[in-house]
Symmetry: C2
Subunit: 153 residues, 2 copies
DNA sequence: TAATATTCAATTGCTTTCAATTAAATTGCG
DNA sequence: CGCAATTTAATTGAAAGCAATTGAATATTA
C-alpha cells in the first residue's frame, strides 16, 4: 500500500508548491493591488493588448466561471474594458486600458523578486519548466492533430 | 520587459499543472466520495491513524481556516472523529474510523490510474518530485538550523 | 503569583475554482 | 428556409484557500 503514502505522491508536492509560490507573490502583488489570478491575466494583456475571453481561458487553463468574475474585477479597477464582439455577439473581448498599461511599469520588479526567493538554480528552473509544460500538454497530443511545437532545448 | 511574458514565468505552469492534475483526480475521487483536499488528509491518516490538527496543517501546508472545515466534512462522512487534547485542550486530534480505514481499499487503484495519465517517464517524475520538494523547502532553512534571519525593519 | 505573551482551533470575509446549468447567438442540416 | 445542434459567456452552488481576527488555554516573565 506504499503507493498511498503521501510522500510517494507526485500530485501533492505539485499542489503544495503551487500554493507556496502564489503565497510568495502575494505581498508583492498587494502593492499594485492585484491578486495572483488577476496578475496572470494582466501578464497576457501586457503582451497582446487585447484577447478574447475564450482564448484567455484556454491560455490560462481557466473556464468562464473563473474568467468572468476576474475580468470584471479588473474592469472595476480600471485596468481593462470589456466589449462584446461585433460580428459574433456571443464573444467577449478584453482590452487593456491606459491605466492597465501604466501598471506594467510597477509590476516590472515582481519577477525579479520572485526569482531570488525561489531556491532553484537556472538549470533546475529550466528543467522544472520543461516537465511542467509536459504535464500541461496532457496525456494525449492528438487533440491538436499532432505536435507542432518542439520541446524546449 | 520579457521577464513579464507569461511564457517566461515559472509560476504559471506550476499553478496550471497543479490544477490540471487535481482535475484529473476528480472523476476517480468522485467514486469514493472525496474531494482532492479530503483525499490528501485521508492519505495522511491511512499512514498514521491519527494526527494533531496543527501537525496535519504543517504537513499539507494548509492553515486552520482550511483544515477545520475539511476535517469537519470528513467527520460528517464518518471517516474520522475529532477529539480535543486532554493534557492541552487547545489542540485537536483527528482519528481514523473503521469506515475511514475501509475506504483505503477503494482508494488503492487511484494512484495507479493517475500514474498512467501523466505523460512523464519514471526518471522525469523523480526529477520533478525532487525539484518540487526543493521549492517546498523554501528559500530559508533557518527554521531548522536555528540560523538567525537578518533583521528587516 | 499576577500580568503579559503566545499558541491553537475556530470563525469571518473575500477570492478563486470548477461542475453544471442557463440564455443567447451562431452554425449546420434536412 | 426552418429547426436542431453547437458555441459562448454568464450564472449558480459547493468547496477550497488564505489573511485577519477571536476566544480560550497554556507558557512566560516580571
Amino acid at each position: 500500500m506504499d503507493i498511498l503514502k503521501l510522500e510517494n505522491q507526485l500530485c501533492f508536492p505539485l499542489y503544495a508548491a503551487s500554493r507556496e509560490l502564489v503565497k510568495q507573490y502575494t505581498p508583492h502583488l498587494d502593492k499594485i493591488g492585484l491578486t495572483y489570478t488577476q496578475y496572470i491575466v494582466m501578464l497576457v494583456l501586457w503582451e497582446q493588448d487585447q484577447i478574447g475571453a475564450k482564448q484567455l481561458g484556454e491560455l490560462l487553463h481557466l473556464d468562464s466561471g473563473t474568467i468572468t468574475p476576474v475580468v470584471k474585477k479588473l474592469e472595476q479597477k480600471g485596468f481593462v474594458v470589456r466589449h462584446r464582439g461585433v460580428e459574433d455577439e456571443r464573444t467577449m473581448t478584453v482590452m487593456l486600458t491606459e491605466s492597465g498599461e501604466a501598471l506594467k511599469k510597477q509590476a516590472a520588479d515582481i519577477p525579479v523578486h520572485m526569482a531570488t526567493c525561489l531556491n532553484l538554480n537556472v538549470k533546475e528552473a529550466s528543467t522544472l519548466y520543461r516537465l511542467l509544460y509536459k504535464i500541461l500538454q496532457g496525456p494525449d497530443d492528438d487533440r491538436k492533430s499532432g505536435r507542432r511545437r518542439s520541446a524546449t532545448p
